[in-house]
Amino acid sequence: MNRREFLKISAGVSAAYACPYSSLWARVERPKYLLLIELNGGNDGLNTIIPFRDPMYKKLRPTIGLSNGEIIQLSDQLAIHQALEPLYSLWQAENLAIVNGVGYENQNRSHFRSIEIWDTASNSDEYLNTGWLSRVIPGNVKHSNYLVDGVVIGRNATPLSGNNMRTIVMNTIANFTRQAKLIEQKRQQTKNPALAHILGVQSDIKDTAQAIEQKTLGTNIQIPQFQGGRFGKQLQEAAKLIVNGIAAPVIKVSIGSFDTHANQKGVHQLLLDQLAQGITSFYEVMRDHNLWNDVIMMTYSEFGRRAKQNASQGTDHGTAAPHFLIGGRVKGGFYGQQPSSSDLQDDDLRYTVDFRSLYNTIAINWWENSTGIDQSQYPALDLIA
């Protein structure tokens, strides 16, 4: 019996608690969800978490720098962009962790290459073909409520790619289930790997669509409209999946483009607005359904931007940036070290936390039963209660 069949059988009978395998999961009582948020294009860290007392900040950002009226102070030294104001109550509730200075050695400044490095958890000079989650989830993260290993809503499924990952890519649940009706499915054994792949994808589609329809027919839990534009719509779909109990250990959404080379201020404000509003709507639904302790949100992006603003009122591709982890079990506060804006390396911020430490935080401290990714080299952060 392979893993696919194992999950199928287990999922089928778990409702009756007659499953001989259920003891395997006894330790994990409720499914845990990671909501992965890609900030596509490279988010400007220095205008997200602002070292507002640092005189260098104003020098590096003479016109696009944020004034004291445009920020919300979080600590003696650091503030958040005013657009993130909706997140302030989560900060006060200590459900928001901000990890400063996240990056990696020998930063690559190409969007494509750098997001690939993040998506596959490779070194800067290493080429890997599978997403980091394929090394963390299959075989390790188990729960009968997981239908597949991952769901991508929108673009870029790379972090969830890999032959061992059963990943569903969709735009909306309704669109997905409607399209799935066009697929005719016959189960068949084959030794042809290409055909096996297609049949596997087909059966993932069919199983998922069927389960979605059954569950939503049975429970049909409605949730309110989300704020936050297109990003909010993606989060709304993610929330629907989780609330109806039809999700996966990881659901990925994305927002962008943060590639703010010119006239950054307005665009950045708008994007952070949507980010904060979407997250807030998501939080409210999770809270109302008593699921807030079962989810964790994590942001990532290919890079931060250069410390110094450019001549077009924007910023170019840079290095380290802060990232957020948010959830009921998150121990709020600052983690990592804010990179110095005077001790730069080639005019760029020096990273203080390797991004794989974030991944290990999820793999080891959140899902608990995964070995993580080189955890001796990139230790998990102690930010989950």
Partner: protein, 257 residues
């Protein structure tokens, strides 16, 4: 230095050029763009690399090393001319070996162009075809990164498989314009293009195809091996109808080449 996208010729920017000596793949000198290309083609690895890519595109996912070396030699001996190489590749035993039939997944270009060619559908505006390719994950001349499309099994995800199926359904619903756009509202075409294309009805081409070939020939052309959804081929007695054709093309085997 950059490239003129229309002519494929180097554009040289004197102000931006560093005229100093550089080391590249073991050679030193004050190189220009042409020199760099020449040095790359002096490496035997270049031919092996390209032949390997063609193998993965035309034969199978598991290249035969001895054959790759043989073909790479031919490629170099012919000064990197594509035609002699492709000739050798396409008459090779490995290309003809039945065990290698249907071992590869059609790329979006294979899928779309192949479909158009099977039914001999003339293409009035290539952009429509290009947009359809983009929708299925292969935006021509715009690979996701310098490594190119990952290809192979990665062409098929839950999302792209559903999009392929939807595209076929639309072809058979008699509105060819839908082939290219609207699937997710993502690749909305300029209005003029849409209106022109709305006149294209693909069903007559499909009907002509059915009339001019017998049943077995049609199945052989569409499917590289036996259908998985057997019912779709056995249900038809004698002549096939358009629904049978759609059923054959909806079979997973139609995704293979």
């Amino acid at each position: 230095m950059s490239i003129d996208r229309n002519t494929g010729v180097f554009r040289f920017y004197k102000q931006r050029h560093d005229f100093g000596k550089k080391k590249f793949l073991g050679k030193s000198g004050a190189f220009n763009g042409e020199d760099i290309v020449n040095i790359i083609f002096e490496q035997p690895e270049t031919a092996t690399f390209l032949v390997n890519k063609l193998w993965l595109e035309f034969i199978s996912e598991s290249p035969n090393k001895a054959e790759i070396d043989r073909l790479a030699k031919i490629f170099r001996a012919n000064n990197y001319e594509m035609k002699p190489l492709m000739h050798e590749l396409l008459i090779s035993k490995d290309f003809r070996r039945p065990a290698n039939y249907g071992r590869l997944i059609k790329s979006p270009v294979d899928f779309i162009v192949g479909t158009l060619r099977i039914f001999e559908i003339p293409v009035q505006d290539g952009r429509v075809v290009a947009f359809a390719g983009a929708h299925l994950g292969q935006n021509l001349f715009d690979p996701p990164n310098v490594k190119g499309w990952p290809g192979g099994n990665e062409w098929i995800t839950s999302s792209s498989l559903l999009s392929r199926q939807q595209l076929l359904e639309r072809m058979f619903r008699g509105n060819g314009a839908e082939m290219s756009n609207r699937a997710n509202g993502k690749f909305a075409l300029p209005k003029i293009l849409r209106e022109n294309d709305r006149k294209v009805d693909l069903r007559p081409f499909i009907e002509r195809f059915i009339k001019t070939h017998d049943k077995q020939k049609i199945i052989n052309v569409l499917l590289v091996e036996d259908a998985i959804n057997v019912s779709s081929t056995t249900s038809a007695t004698g002549k096939l109808n358009t629904n049978d054709i759609l059923a054959l093309m909806s079979d997973p085997i139609y995704q293979l080449k």
